[in-house]
Amino acid sequence: MADVGAGIMPRDEIITGLLDPKITAGMPGVSVQNFGGIGSEAAGNSPLSKTAGVFDVAENMIWTHSKHMVSFGGEIMWIRPNTQAASGGRGSLGFTGAFTELPNNRSATGEGLADMLLGVANSVSTGSVIHSEERGRYYAGYVNDQWTSMQNLTLNFGLRYEYLTPFRDTQNRMANFVMDPGPLYLQFVPAGDSRLPRALMYGDKTNYSPRVGMAYKVPHVQDLTIRSSFGIFFAQDQGSGVTSRLSSNPPFYNYGAISESSDQLNVSTGFTLSSSTVIPRPTPVSGSAFVLVPTFAGGLTSWPTHYKNGRVQQWSLSVQKKLPWDMLFETNYVGNHGVHLLAREQGNQPTVLNGATVQSRRPLAAVTQSPSTALASGMRLSTRVFRPNLKNVLPREFLFEIQSPMGMLST
């Protein structure tokens, strides 16, 4: 009863409307208490088709003059990711045994399989396939001077600049639920709306990356070299999957989706399966015609309209000393500190429990009862590594290497 959603199983939606019309093979996901999931690809995201389509042009030049070696160059990328995924388009039914429990002993009774044989599901959900054709461009340029200022001292100074345009969709199948303070706060803005750029956000133009480094051969000490560096590096945003992107907003995704659960007590609140049951599929609408109502169940995604690229500062210090018997001792310290890293959060997370319903505790309940996935460029990361290393450097002989703890770092 289970396949991988690869088209092995013929299309059978069980209940009319449980599969998105664009799903051409397989069946909905069915979960039955105490049994493994059945249906086509229980995870629900197959078939999944992705192409990266990156065109990259880069040019690097080196100019040597006296004690300077100056390198400079640039790069342009056309980034064209296309994605089509079954995602929410493969609906699901859940049978928990809620309707075959003994009223006086509910916790110990009930059988999901019996509920299924009765034809009453505890939960039902539907959605739609997702389809995006995003386009972005990346520009970068750099210059670096490697200056041998003394026979035993080399200095590096460099600067890199990069800019990634926010991604737009070729068919404008994107929208942004704006959660930034300002005139558009809590507005649902489709691509093509004049209130925002076509990509629904402004790119980050502050991506300056200074790089400095040095290598110093300590005088009067045989074979002792010290190296150190500092730099800033920027991250791009393609790491977020298609269901976290602005393509996953209605009406382009999950328009007309339902997500219903019973009260776990009364059969009348369950979803009854019969040959005449139909889950309606509304006629698609354009982005500008879509009206967000608080009860929309398909989920919303919000990206900051003034997007900040994640950035990581990295610094390092290493000491290398050649020892007798062709041994080399090296110790490295590398530290990283990242800020503005992209992270998902629930933009409409319920506030602390005070006895009211979950929906009433959502701060944006008057606008949407969706958890509203928000992409915040606010994640932080800090790492420190201390790595002593001892190795034999004789070529073509028995080599060995030991990395051992020889220091201590505290948090």
């Binding site: 992270a343 998902r344 959060e345 994640m379 420190r384 790595r387 290497e401 990395q403 770092l409």
Partner: protein, 67 residues
């Protein structure tokens, strides 16, 4: 190697969400990347096979593949 890694969320790029939307600082803690101590010992030894070696010294194919 010894080190530490801390962050506000490991898998919030795609899938998970921060536990507390209203207080990012409260999410600050040990990262999935955190490996406090790692010790490795590795070696490379040249096998005595192929041209000029103890075994299969005259086998060209052995010299190409193993030597």
């Amino acid at each position: 190697m010894i080190g530490d890694a801390l962050d506000t969320c490991d898998t919030c790029g795609n899938g998970d969400t921060m536990q507390n939307t209203y207080n990012h600082a409260a999410n600050w803690g040990t990262s999935e990347l955190d490996v406090r101590f790692r010790y490795t010992l590795d070696g490379v030894i040249e096998v005595p096979v192929g041209r000029g070696k103890l075994f299969l010294a005259n086998q060209k194919m052995a010299s190409v593949v193993l030597g």
